[in-house]
Symmetry: C2
Subunit: 412 residues, 2 copies
């Protein structure tokens, strides 16, 4: 590239910095307008507190969560009602606590507690979700990166690893509209995950179906039923399915779900019954009344889509206009979820994030999508357009494009 190009890129960047922006594309948070969609919940359940079965939701007990709410989310999460647990306000909590339970009490099928293993390793398809990785780091579980393909984790790699090494105890999966690359697992990938031989007798799939109903197009993409496939393959206890209403109703005040085999559910409830008398069933009732049924959930998600699809479109537009013909620059065009993955030439991601930061645009740190915060190629940037208003997304993305141009020019 010529010096001329570099100096034009530098000029554009200087102009960007001069604007003194303060914009944020870091986290997958719903916007205030999205939260407004659920404002009616703030007055619920009103005077009512009895569940359909007569349970006084105000009192103690009900460890598995309110039946009518589990009935609504059972089809959404592809889990039979009796195998679905409705719990607190965070699915991350459920994932963390499930691993804590496995560390301190043998899982169904386990020979021992995981703290008594020499080491415990989880496979981390990359790019992936930094909070999954942080849970493992915190609990002393090692992460081993495996590559993603356009259909899910590279199953040739996964199958080879799990067949050989009994210390590999699990894999993180976001099967639909994956964080951050928007990938949807193919039925074949799901089938292979559910049926592959594993050296560990207590191998688990952490199936974080965080975006089950979070479509961005007319197509309500479906994934295969991992619990059913695992049971058919003789590995009923392999999947733990997670989901929540955090990006459906209120991000901090939603309801999280855990689904699994009868043996896993029994194990989980027995341990959790020592920890608490039960979850907040009033919030369960609040949600059940708000939705009515699974169709109510789908209808509600259409309203979210109307608010956030234009933000993804704005992002796509800026990227296409700027980088359609730029070698080494590509991006995901997800059909749902909360993120776009921007791939830049090797070694440029950190620089772009730094340039953006200095121009007042916060991006997720480069490397966050990889275990240990280390993307060996330094080429992946996660963009999260949902939280800021549309005009700020447009401004921020125009700014990001300027940063990418300069970072590429610097390296040329």
């Amino acid at each position: 590239m010529t010096t001329d190009v570099t100096s034009r890129a530098q000029e554009a960047y200087d102009a960007l910095v001069a604007q003194g922006m303060k914009l944020d594309l870091t986290r997958g948070k719903p916007s205030a307008a999205q939260l407004d969609l659920s404002v009616a919940m703030l007055g619920l359940p009103g005077e009512r507190y009895k569940a359909a079965d007569g349970t006084d939701t105000r009192n103690y007990q009900g460890l598995q969560g309110l039946t009518e709410l589990r009935e609504i989310f059972a089809p959404v999460l592809q889990v039979p009602v009796e195998q679905l647990i409705a719990f607190g306000n965070s699915s991350l909590e459920l994932m963390h606590d499930t691993l804590v339970h496995a560390l301190l009490s043998p899982l169904p099928g386990a020979e021992r507690r995981w703290v008594d293993e020499e080491k415990v390793v989880f496979l981390a398809p990359v790019p992936g979700y930094d909070r999954h990785f942080a849970v493992c780091d915190r609990l002393g579980i090692e992460l081993l990166a495996v590559p993603m393909t356009s259909e899910g984790p590279d199953m040739d790699v996964v199958e080879r690893l799990v067949a050989a090494d009994p210390s590999i105890k699990g894999i993180w999966c976001v099967p639909k509209y994956a964080n951050p690359d928007g990938v949807v697992y193919s039925d074949e990938v799901t089938r292979r995950l559910a049926s592959m031989p594993t050296a560990a007798s207590d191998f688990r799939i952490m199936w974080d179906n965080a975006y089950a109903v979070h479509h961005l197009t007319d197509e309500a993409v479906e994934v295969a039923d991992v619990l059913a496939l695992a049971a058919e393959a003789g590995h009923a206890d392999r999947p733990f399915v997670f989901g929540s209403t955090s990006k459906i109703t209120l991000a901090g005040a939603g309801v999280a779900f855990l689904g699994a085999s009868p043996a896993n559910v029994k194990w989980w409830l027995a341990l959790t019954g020592k920890r608490t008398i039960g979850p907040d069933k009033v919030n369960h009732l609040r949600h059940a009344l708000f939705f009515g049924d699974a169709a109510g959930v789908a209808a509600h998600m259409e309203k979210h889509r109307a608010l956030i699809a234009p933000k993804f479109a704005a992002l796509e537009k800026v990227l296409t206009e700027n980088f359609a013909d730029t070698p080494g620059v590509s991006w995901s065009t997800p059909k749902g979820g909360y993120f776009v993955t921007l791939t830049v030439p090797e070694g440029r991601a950190t620089r772009i994030v730094q340039l953006a930061k200095e121009a007042g645009i916060s991006l997720t740190p480069a490397g966050a999508t990889h275990p240990g915060g280390d993307d060996p190629a330094d080429s992946i940037i996660r963009l999260a357009p949902t939280f800021p208003p549309l005009d700020e997304v447009e401004k921020a993305m125009a700014g990001v494009a300027v940063c990418v141009h300069l970072a590429l020019a610097e390296a040329s």
Copy 2:
């Protein structure tokens, strides 16, 4: 005792069984009438969702919990606002999770994680709370019973044990209106707990102030400020203070609190930040709006007292009428809390609970107040009169008296 007495007791018992009762004095649950006191909460926060500092309570974040709610409960729990965490719906959860954190990450002052200790032992003042014991059992923490006195744990015993044995890492305390004997810790006991030398550098007091404002008399009993005393004694990190609104607002949908030293709070939040993005702040706001201030909490507790004090009085009346002059039978007359402890002659508690069960009256299993469910003297029965309506409490207690008479006659 004469055969005549025995046969009269048997006749009375047979008549009791013939009534076919189905009554329950097992658990410390609020009654429906108590829950009705907080029915206005079910419509809160209404349209409002902004906290005093502008936080949108509907969205993610705010790991320490809403400031205005912490401000209300800071004086209630004797914890400075900045050292108080407002969290989920269960203080038992907070206790469990704090011990999990200590098992998996070194506490401030610890040499290693507790899972890496040869063994970890907690002192359990007896009679005590079965759910405390169950948390330890579940986590592989051994329990060592120490006797209660009328002023709290027998501190001569406690001091001797903790000074000698570094594997003793903690003690369970319910300092006010203790479960189940209603004991209030004297200032001297609290001072000794806060200042005693311990062989373990990471010794902790699990200060479960579950009944901080749950008075049954005009006297609002106070206990000493354990955090302040510990800090003065150079052991700032020793106490973890717990509390909740479970028996103030809605038993299943309240807010739980954790208070501790700045170092402990920092440690706890850092670990918890890997587990969740934050607690349900809408429920925090709901509670803050409902109470207004600490005086609002006290006023609300007066209404609870009006409902439950008569139930304790009914229980006391039956016991006095039947056993005022019976050798070996005594009971607590708590000034607050949720329980009465009935002490019967050695070896009779299990028999009484069994007789009551066969007459349709559920009592907490004898021994539940002791580690491993084993009361060596088999003489302690925990009575919980809050949940049933007053007339049922009266009937159930009359029935219990019949069972005690028969069990004593059988042993005479």
